[in-house]
């Protein structure tokens, strides 16, 4: 029952966002418009809480997010309404391999489309697949979405979103560290949040330290040069792991 009722709640909240019913405020981003509800948006975002009462925004009951990306704002709003987000699956270019894991014992490895929920990063099926969950974000491009969403979560002070993004980002990095999206996502992480914000920075550093081969990529090289923090973080991890003794 509880599952049922919370699903119903989630559905109707989602419906509020798509239909715009009862809306008392409007968010514009480029060509996209969302008719939102202060009661939902403001309590969970310090930014909107202040914006709706300020100057022109208060008068027009509308805010134009001039420099954000429509798709990411959409994800943020999805989170604000239902507490989770799903990156849309349109870009299939990176979907290069089929599922290799299923219920049969023939394939004793978790394929990249799935994640090991035990967080042990075991890939030998020793858990019997009990900790194996299908990853909803099975596209490498999602790495970039996550990083961008993290930026907005920081900028607009969206409650709880950062840690959710971080979880998803960790899983995505496990699967897609070896794709062309990883360096892009890594740069976004370092460029769009204050230095003190370690949330995704740590994930990027530890992913590289797990896969030092990445350093050979020219994109990574330029990242290392630009962001001293990244290089230093990596060095520190190596030192602590005793890799250079």
């Amino acid at each position: 029952m509880a599952d049922e009722s919370s699903k119903l709640l989630k559905d109707s909240l989602k419906n509020l966002l798509t239909s715009g019913e009862y809306s008392d405020f409007t968010i514009n981003c480029k060509d996209k418009t969302w008719r939102v509800h202060k009661a939902i948006v403001c309590p969970r975002s310090g930014y909107f809480a202040r914006a709706v009462n300020f100057g022109r925004e208060a008068k027009d009951r509308m805010i134009d997010l001039l420099e954000d990306e429509t798709e990411i704002v959409g994800l943020m709003l999805e989170y604000l309404y239902i507490g989770d987000y799903t990156v849309p699956t349109t870009d299939k270019t990176d979907l290069v391999f089929p599922h290799t894991c299923n219920d049969s014992n023939l394939h004793a490895f978790v394929c990249s489309h799935h994640a090991c929920a035990t967080q042990l990063r075991v890939r030998d099926w020793s858990c019997g697949g009990r900790g194996c969950i299908p990853s909803p974000d099975i596209f490498p491009a999602n790495l970039v979405h996550h990083a961008r969403l993290y930026e907005l979560a920081d900028k607009y002070q969206v409650m709880g979103l950062k840690s959710l993004v971080r979880e998803k980002f960790i899983l995505a990095c496990q699967s897609f560290w070896n794709t062309s999206k990883f360096p892009i996502a890594a740069e976004i992480v370092f460029a769009t949040t204050p230095e003190e914000d370690k949330g995704l920075r740590e994930v990027v550093v530890s992913t590289i330290s797990d896969h030092m081969i990445l350093l050979k990529q020219p994109e990574m090289e330029s990242l290392m040069v630009t962001y001293n923090g990244l290089a230093y973080g990596l060095l520190k991890i190596m030192l602590e792991a005793g890799g250079w003794q």
């Binding site: 930014y47 202040r50 100057g55 429509t70 798709e71 349109t90 002070q157 892009i184 460029a191």
Partner: protein, 829 residues
Amino acid sequence: MIAGRGRQRIRPPRRGLHGDEIDFENTWSTIASAFREIHTKNASRLSYEELYRHAYKVVLKKKGEELYKRVCDFEHEWLSSEVRSAIQALFSPNLSAGTQSLGGTTANERRVAGEKFFKGLKQAWGDHQICMSMLADVLMYMDRVYCHDHRRPSIYTAAMVLFRDDILHAPTSDVDGKEVLRLLNHVILDQIQMERDGDVIDKHLIKSCVHMLDSLYQDEDEAEDQRLYNTSFEAAYLETSREFYRQEADFLLRDSDAGAYCRHTRRRLYEEEERCRSTLLDVTQPKIQQVVEDELIKNRIHELVEMESGVRFMIDNDRLDELNLIYDLNSRVDDKKAELMRAIQKRIVELGTDINNAAIAASQAPVSAPMPLEAGDKVKAQMPEKSLNQQTVAAIRWVEDVLQLKDKFDKIWEVSFQQDQPLQTALTRSFADFINSPAFPRSSEYISLFIDENMKKGIKGKTEMEVDAVLEKAIILLRYVQDKDLFERYYKKHLCRRLLMNKSISNDVEKAMISKMKIELGNNFTLKLESMFKDMTISEELTSGFKKHVEGLGDKDPKRIELAINVLTSMTWPLETMGSGDDAEGSRPRCIYPTAIERIKRGFEKYYNEKHSGRQLTWLGNMGSADIKAVFPKVPQKDGSFKERRHDLNVSTYGMVILLLFNDLPADQHLTFEEIQAQTNIPKTDLIRNLQSLAVAPKTRILIKDPMSKDVKSTDRFFFNEGFIGRFVKIKVGVVSSGNKVESDRERRETEKKNDDSRGFCIEAAVVRIMKQRKELSHQALIIETLNQLVGQFKPEVNMIKKKIESLIEREYLERVEGVKIDSYRYLA
């Protein structure tokens, strides 16, 4: 799904986002001009998105510190130019007039100027708060990232500090140099003073300035007790209030009465409480209350209580509500209410002593005045009769007065002192003080007499409830009496007379009284009293038993004498106090009874010995009475009639013995005093008194005395008065001093001596009891234990205890323990 058209629009990050320098100066000028709009209340066209984005980017580009500094500079600039000049414009000479005490400005002018000042400050402060909260909204990202990471106060807090420094700490003028803050404090205090003086002020307006002071801090730490309200205003407020109330107390003590003072103080307390609620802050309430209580009550309570219209006046005039006020005020500053208690106690003792003195005066006045010195003992018999009665009246009056006093203070205690427990104890102590005052040794006797009077007359015709109330009153007084043993002595004596002379109206009431005393004083106390009642019951049975016995003898003698007898256990009854008190020479002389009487006396003795062998009966002729049928012969009367007259005479037993002598005497013969004494062996004083009532008292002159005078001398001669005229058939010949009256001083000394003697026994018994149990005890401990043991009976003098211990040592009940530091005793078995 949200996105669904073609390729995603996710681009690689713009190269060098971090690198390309945003134009800080440009961005800042955008922000600064927006801030100016905000300050000039023109914010409605500003875009939050834009301003936030600018600030966000600046902080993201690590220019947070620069931005923070610029904002502070901007605000400092704004406050010290725009706002400060607006505030300066509010200053007027009227404003600070109070401080320089210039004449010429009325309170009203000052009030108006003050309110203008308040309004200006309130406006500036309110604007500042609103603007700063808008700025803080815009600069939220800076607050969160820069200020948080660099441990800087939020921009809002920083702006509040700026307001304090640039506005409140600014000098009011270049010349005077006084701070705005001090001026503000001064004006608030001035207005509060106006309100105290009865003006109406704008409390709401002041409260908003107070709130401003409350939200600013003395230093950067923002510690709770460092608010400007506390550090700057409150201290000054408490100080000026203290001074004000000190002066007010002076004035009030000089110019009004205590009741008005109390009411005024109460109103001030209420006003200050109300002021904290409406004008200032609640945190000040306990502090200002302390100040008012200190200045108007604590430091003044003594003077207040002692005022001419103080506690004494209130007590005397039954100002119950004013006493309640004093009580209320005193208990605010002193849990013990020491001042009030002291005054009350003093007044009780004063009033009590007045009552005591009145009783002494009433009892002494008539005795001392008319009595010639040489008259001595003999005159006493007639003259003091009257005065003794007056003394009895005085005694009863004393009891009534004390009870009235008690009622008065009970009411005060109940109504005015909220039934305060310590005060009740104090009241009780004071009553005990004057009742047991060494200057007034008669309380025990007076209380007993009061009961006696009520038992004989007072309770006649009263309902059970009323009777009970009377008894209860006596018990109340009894509670105060320290020397219960003395009371017991008097009570026994008075009870004895009531029982033997049949003076009691109701036996039930007597018994009710006894059982009340039993509850109050314990079993021991009433044991003897109860056995007196038992003796009376047994005696009734004896009398009727003897009557039957005599009838059983058969010889119907018409002249037979009926005997009603009371057999009293000698240890129980205070017989010594019943006697004439004169026969100090030793054993009571045996009265010689006429033969008829002697016969029946023997008859009873025989009858009694058959029932109880081994008991000795002693006849107390001085205590009985007799009914005699007397026949007076036919002699010419003044009215010319000539007939025999019969009277029933009720006389004392001695009177009967005397009269029977004349039965055998020829009509014209006489007996001298000495002859009568010799033939009857009646003690001299008893004889004198009986002869007085038979021969001197005008209405019962059955004998004629020669020479006729009031005194009875041993040479006097007595004749039977054949011509006696009585108006009634039944005549009662009263014997002098047969009722219960106040003792004469000599009697009292005797009573006290007897009491002391029996106290001696009590003390010895107590000491022996204690030592038997403890075997060895120090002197001090023994004294204390002895006092404790005897507290229910009396309070022995320590000297007496010492003497008794000495005497016990002599008699080898105890010995001194040798060679110890503290004096100690050992029990010798």
